[in-house]
Amino acid sequence: MDAEAARMIGAGIACFGMAGAAIAVGNIFGNYLTGALRNPSAAPSQFTNTLIGAALAEGLGIFSLVIAFLLIFVG
């Protein structure tokens, strides 16, 4: 296998990391909605925490996306 093909396959594999972030972000917002529908009056106070959690989870997925970009476009 030449290096170019290996790089492209590596970029594709790196994108699997984003599946984890997708599950995490879906989990966070799903659970937020579950809680918000049970107790709507407490929902606005927890929205900030929801966003922080989603941002932290999403950041890890972005790492793998950056690895994919580095593999495709750099070097």
Binding site: T48, L51, I52, A54, A55, E58, G59, I62, F63, L65
Partner: protein, 253 residues
């Protein structure tokens, strides 16, 4: 991939508008990135100065828009860093206004997205982290190091938790900058990839004109999504800034 109409990376090229020459091997030039940063600052200043110049007890539409922006940032900062944190309000508000305007200006066709370059977002993130570290040490002295040792920790696991806390603190500037950069870069890439499909399909003939409607509709829908992402990422950047500033004010948690 070299055709600029289809190449999705063409939008991120930095070009010199005029060069001031080289100083010590480093070129000083006015680039399109710098022009858009100037535009962003001018836009924010014009919006805030013009909307609040005729301060009325009954606000006009523009004034209430400016007040809303103020309230959002002030409430976020107050709820995560307390009233003491309001000292940092001008800093946090500037960051929010800059990132929000940069993200939104980037969505205008043919405009340059400043925040899709890692150097800009890393500079912003390092500014935030250095502010936290410097003011943390000034306010708390050596007590700022308590941020690495959560209170009420059994002695047996304290070294491991401290190690993890140090790692997570060090990864903050990386994750803060990469999140904004990655979101803006990926969003604009996807937009331009779909727009490139329209160009390729219409070049294929009359049948392609009708088939091109599908990716065109997708581009419109993605643009709407990108507006959401632009505002959300600016807000997330602000929230995390507030949370980190809270560490500088109250290091023991």
């Amino acid at each position: 991939m070299t055709d600029p109409a289809i190449d999705p990376l063409h939008q991120f090229h930095i070009v010199n508008i005029f060069s001031l020459g080289k100083v010590g091997g480093v070129e000083f030039a006015l680039t399109n990135s710098a022009v858009f940063m100037i535009l962003i600052v001018v836009l924010i200043s014009a919006f805030l100065i013009l909307s609040t110049s005729g301060r009325g007890l009954v606000p006009t539409r523009w004034q209430s828009a400016a007040e809303m922006m103020y309230e959002i940032v002030a409430n976020t900062l107050r709820s995560s860093a307390g009233t003491e944190g309001m000292k940092y309000f001008p800093f946090v508000f500037s960051i929010f206004a800059f990132v929000l305007t940069a993200n939104l200006v980037g969505l205008v066709p043919y405009f340059f997205t400043v925040t899709s370059h890692i150097i800009i977002t890393l500079a912003l993130a390092l500014l935030v982290i250095l502010t936290v570290v410097v003011t943390g040490f000034i306010r708390n002295g050596i007590g700022f190091l308590k941020v690495f040792v959560p209170s009420g920790l059994p002695m047996a696991i304290a070294p491991f938790i401290t190690f993890i806390e140090i790692l997570s603190f060090l990864s903050r500037p990386v994750s803060l900058s990469l999140r904004l950069f990655g979101n803006m870069l990926a969003g604009h890439l996807v937009l331009k990839v779909f727009a490139g499909f329209v160009v390729s399909l219409t070049a294929a003939g009359v049948g392609g004109w009708f088939a091109g409607i599908l990716p065109l509709g997708m581009t419109v829908a993605l643009t709407a999504l990108e507006f959401l992402v632009a505002v959300l990422q600016a807000y997330v950047f602000t929230i995390l800034t507030c949370v980190y500033i809270n560490d500088a004010i109250h290091p023991s948690h």
